[in-house]
Subunit: 228 residues, 2 copies
């Protein structure tokens, strides 16, 4: 086999590992959210149990990427792809950790009376999982337009997180028996907000990969200015 052909094959293997990792991270978030909404401790435990698979893939991806850089000395676009693969695997591992955090909250939530349904939390769950799904699709298909559409949705998630804070506060003030559940849900909302941030990071990396220039921190700057 020619060295070039060998390189292409190794690059494809790196990509397919990243796709697997993305699938596991997305599934972890979906399962954790299901466990939360249905108060299902068995599903919650499954999220915690499966996290090792995501962690292992991060290590495999990093090692494969360093190997490719060392042996093949790739240029330009392949080099960007390999370095972004390492950054994306870092972010996906973090997504898995946040899914575990949400799953761990389920156990605590079961100890307090059911909290009233919050449409804002359900909207947050829906947008966040969509953002993650689209960011990974954008990566797989090298679709910078889809990636850019992920980035703009992050502001809505931040807004929902702030609204949920105020709604939980009102519930807790009205009925002190809701204080524990309210605090658990605040932590869940914080974890979802971070997952949306990480999906945004992945999407920004995809834009860099396809267009060769960074759009990072534009969102953060806006956020800092508006003080939200």
């Amino acid at each position: 086999m020619s060295p070039q052909r060998h390189f292409e094959e190794e690059l494809d293997r790196l990509k397919s590992r990243l796709v697997s990792m993305a699938g596991l991270a997305e599934e972890a978030v979906r399962l954790a959210v299901e466990a939360l909404l249905r108060r299902d401790p068995v599903k919650a435990e499954e999220v915690i149990r499966r996290d090792k698979g995501i962690d292992d893939l991060e290590i495999e991806i990093d090692e494969a990427a360093i190997q490719l850089l060392a042996l093949q000395q790739p240029m330009a676009k392949d080099l960007r792809f390999i370095t972004m693969a390492m950054k994306i695997s870092n972010d996906l591992e973090r997504v898995g950790d946040h899914a575990v955090n949400v799953a761990e909250e389920v156990e605590f939530l079961l100890q307090s009376p059911p909290f009233p349904v919050l449409p804002e939390l359900e909207e947050m769950v829906r947008i966040t999982t969509e953002m993650l799904n689209d960011a990974l699709d954008a990566f797989i298909r090298s679709d910078n337009n889809l990636a850019r559409r992920v980035v703009v949705r992050d502001d809505r998630v931040d807004e929902l997180h702030n609204n949920i804070f105020r709604i939980l506060l009102t519930h807790m003030m009205e009925d002190p028996r809701r204080i524990t559940g309210g605090m658990d849900l605040l932590l869940v909302s914080g974890n979802l907000e971070r997952i949306a941030d990480l999906a945004t990071n992945v999407a920004e990396d995809v834009v860099f990969l396809v267009e060769g220039r960074t759009i990072k921190h534009h969102v953060e700057q806006r956020r800092a200015v508006s003080g939200t």
Copy 2:
């Protein structure tokens, strides 16, 4: 100048940029915590204003790292250093974001009556800033033993975060006027816990850099097993 000499110089410049970024991230956390403990909105605003400097350095470091990989085709230890530099810059940028989150909470905390002093929160602040400081020192001095001492401290921070949750809960149950402040402090505690996680990540990267093998996810596995 010989290509080798030029490479060494560029590598030194990458290292010194990373040291600058680490200094800014550490300073941001220190300032945000000071603003929180002294209820000082001016310091809080300074953290938010300075965050752009950290963001800019992340982009510079990534570009310099990719440049070095493309032009110099480094091997073995230098290759590990350059790829870890990209991972560490990612983590430091996140540390800066968490410092901004803490600073933003200060503004909200000023709107509620002062919360009783929590020794647990002060211990958490102390350990977290020490971990960050030591992780960065370990990186600068390639000190894997110091890095390993950072990693083991993460469990204590997780424990403190859980204790703070329960302490805040008790305060809020006793006096509903403390509910708002309690929720703000819960978010602060969550941000500090994430900063400690990121310091742990950096320390794990330093161990990989020096020893050439990963110790990642051992901590996470223990955490998942103990269910904390």
